[in-house]
Assembly symmetry: C2
Homo-oligomer: 461 residues x 2
């Protein structure tokens, strides 16, 4: 029976903002394999990471014991500006699809950064400020993370140097302008400001860049500049920890109406959004309770989970970072310049990778960008929110699941993450509207070239 007593938007109160993040690793039966020091190939310890990252963030990165980690009061204060984010019942989408499914989405695009990335940016900027740093360096793909970090650094009045994947900086000049308005400096990557950037440009002067390369540049800039550390918007354990606030709020909100999702869907580039959204529901599964069916949606052009290898690999193209055990297409893989710039990473969060490998994350699904924009356009029309291309990957899967429900007559509860808005992606919408959008699917040969660069690591049992 269809529940129609749920309001369009379930808003928690400010008092209901979670006071602690949830650390899913504490509940995982099989921990993900430790990161390896690239020089020694030994598991990293604190002292390997503190030259690159803030001390408190290193501690979070390595913490697989504590289930809940308190959110600092200064971060909570900032959260109160834009959180709790609404959980929205997609009545209009349900009607358009004529589905018996009940569809909910957690909308994280309501803040000026336009995405969920702010949840971790403000935490990382806080710890940098607390440590007395001058500033931080980072990379950005679609620009969402860079925007969020610029806002966070502007708020705590510390410097912010952003390396922006070149193709994105060309597609989105206004993203750059937003970051600069918040006081950040933005450098298209690869650039001549770093050794690794110079090397990439020498190899291919026409490269459109990649997230992996921009990471290398940002890390190099951090370790070679006094008073700076490097911060990252996805992939890392600490990021998934901070993003757990998405899931904690979503769970509290949906349970107010005695609902529980049968399916949880998130787009997955580095894994920050899906990891955060699913965390508390995954807790139910890991602790033996009822649990949703989890779906990670990735672009067919960068299919790290659906077609990648589960192996130790570098997190960056320059191969200066620690190695992580994850699903990967190889650190040298550069995806076609599709419009979901936030989903163009060659690897995947080690936590999500392990959960997928162990069958807790039930399914990974690759979708083409024309299908994604078809879903985005329908969603924009009926739900009134213009989604980012990244988020629209989750919308595509949610629509497909809802259509299956129509066919089977099942009234499943579908929850997906709407991570951000598409205001800076209108060039992509224009291309879709004009019928000129293409799908890019890497060939097996393309993938083999990437796989060839994955180092051959013998793992101790």
């Amino acid at each position: 029976m269809k529940r129609n007593n749920v309001p369009y938007k379930i808003n928690l109160t400010e008092q209901e903002i979670p006071k602690a993040w949830y650390n899913v690793r504490a509940d995982m039966k099989t921990k993900h394999r430790p990161m390896l020091n690239p020089a020694t190939l030994k598991p990293v310890v604190e002292s390997d990471l503190t030259p690159v990252f803030c001390d408190k963030l290193v501690a979070q990165e390595l913490n697989d014991k504590d289930r809940m980690i308190d959110i600092p009061e200064e971060v909570l204060n900032f959260y109160r500006m834009y959180r709790p984010s609404p959980l929205i019942r997609a009545y209009f989408l349900e009607k358009a699809l004529d589905t018996p499914a009940r569809i909910y989405y957690k909308y994280e695009g309501g803040n000026t950064s336009g995405s969920h990335k702010l949840n971790s940016a403000i935490a990382q900027a806080y710890y940098a400020k607390e440590q007395g740093l001058v500033g931080v360096t980072t990379e950005t793909g679609a620009g969402q993370w860079g925007t969020a970090l610029s806002m966070a650094c502007g708020y705590f009045d510390i410097d912010c140097k952003v390396y922006m994947v070149k193709v994105s900086s060309e597609q989105k000049p206004y993203r750059k302008a937003v970051m600069e308005t918040y006081g950040a400096s933005v450098t298209p990557s690869p650039s001549t400001t770093t050794q690794i950037g110079q090397k990439m440009l020498a190899e291919d002067p026409n490269t459109t860049g990649s997230l992996g390369c921009a990471i290398s540049e940002a890390v190099e800039a951090a370790v070679t500049t006094e008073g700076y550390k490097y911060v990252l918007g996805s992939v890392l354990n600490q990021v998934l920890l901070h993003q757990s606030i998405i899931g904690l709020e979503a769970k509290a909100a949906i349970e107010k109406y005695d609902e529980y999702p049968d399916i949880v869907i998130g787009c997955a580039g580095g894994g920050s959004n899906l990891g955060g959204l699913m965390a508390p529901f995954m807790a139910d599964k890991l602790t033996g309770g009822k649990a949703p069916y989890f779906i990670a949606v990735e672009p067919a052009s960068c299919p790290s989970m659906t077609r990648g290898k589960f192996a130790y690999d570098f997190c960056d193209t320059g191969m200066v970072t620690p190695l992580a055990k994850m699903y990967t297409l190889g650190a040298t893989f550069i995806p076609a310049s599709n419009h979901a710039g936030g989903l163009r990473y060659h690897g995947m969060s080690p936590i999500l990778s392990q959960l997928y490998h162990d069958g807790y994350l039930d399914e990974a699904r690759a979708v083409g960008q024309r299908d994604v924009f078809e879903a985005a356009t329908l969603f924009a029309k009926v739900e009134g929110l213009l989604p980012a291309p990244e988020s629209a990957h989750a919308i595509r899967a949610a629509i497909d699941e809802a259509i299956k429900c129509k066919e089977s007559g099942e009234d499943k509860v579908i929850l997906f993450g709407l991570t951000g808005t598409g205001y800076f992606d209108m060039a992509a919408y224009m291309q879709y509207n004009s019928g000129e959008m293409e799908d890019y699917i890497p060939s097996d040969e393309d993938l083999e070239r990437g796989f060839a660069a994955i180092p051959d690591i013998k793992e101790a049992e």
Copy 2:
């Protein structure tokens, strides 16, 4: 004593969305002078307006008797998608200014159209649909109204033809893309598709266009195309009626915390936002109760209230519309191409004009755009919301009032309208960031040229 028990965001529940709009005209002691038929110079009657506007909207336009007008259920359903909008306590701005003032803003930019315009767009699209029309025509300046109307027409599945002021369409190609994504067709104005557009182009092929000219084109297109009517996003009584939902919600929210504004501030182009925000507070004043001090903020480049004449004038450059008694710079006045495209209209809502003339609207204030962007940038950094240039006019005045409170030690309650986001205005921010932004102040001679075009109407007493 400073109240610090107010949450950052005061969210009403969906059940608290007002079920009726408030019609301020019913409480006005001196009604504004009636619009005049341009051919006969007699007060317009229903049959003068129904060829141009939808029947139900004409009835609302002429209604000065009913205080409350029910919101149709279909419109309420749409409102539930994005309303109630939050009333936000600007704790961070207060702290940055070190002011004893308590600052609140009603944030209308949280929906995909990015502004308050959606409140009236959905109502107008609904009445057009209800009347069985094929579609509607309109003009847009900054693009906010066109975007909102596109969303509304997309929702009700009727056609939408938008004439967009040429300078805006060039500054904001992505605005056009959003409208097209929602299914609208967008024509830069002046265009060759109408007689008035052809005439304007013949007179000045390099014209950057104006809202007044785009209105003429949209009206011409409506009356010459079967199944179409014209709709307008500001100025008209019906629009102020629909926008009263802003003020009704703001009043309900602020009163929950036993607060009442000492000052209410809104930017004013055609008057839709300020008219809506202040309406229920103005009711207090008109009915003899306590009341705030009302401030309308306009750009120094288009100073209709601060430097214009209170006179009967055409609402459009082509002089095809009825004449309205209002503050005006003359229908031929074309302001410099400043970045607050939504505030470039030569006239002002007849309701606001009358209230200002009679001293109920206490003050009109003109501000320069560099000062406006200074305020916008500060606000973006501390409050985390990147404002539209239009909205930033209100921010500028709110900051100035808060600074006065610091000097005098008064803890006034300041309420302003944050009408929209600046995501499509990044070219303007880039210009400000680079230090290349200029202020445009029309000379007295510029204004005299505009005044010369105001018709000389003898009013009956």
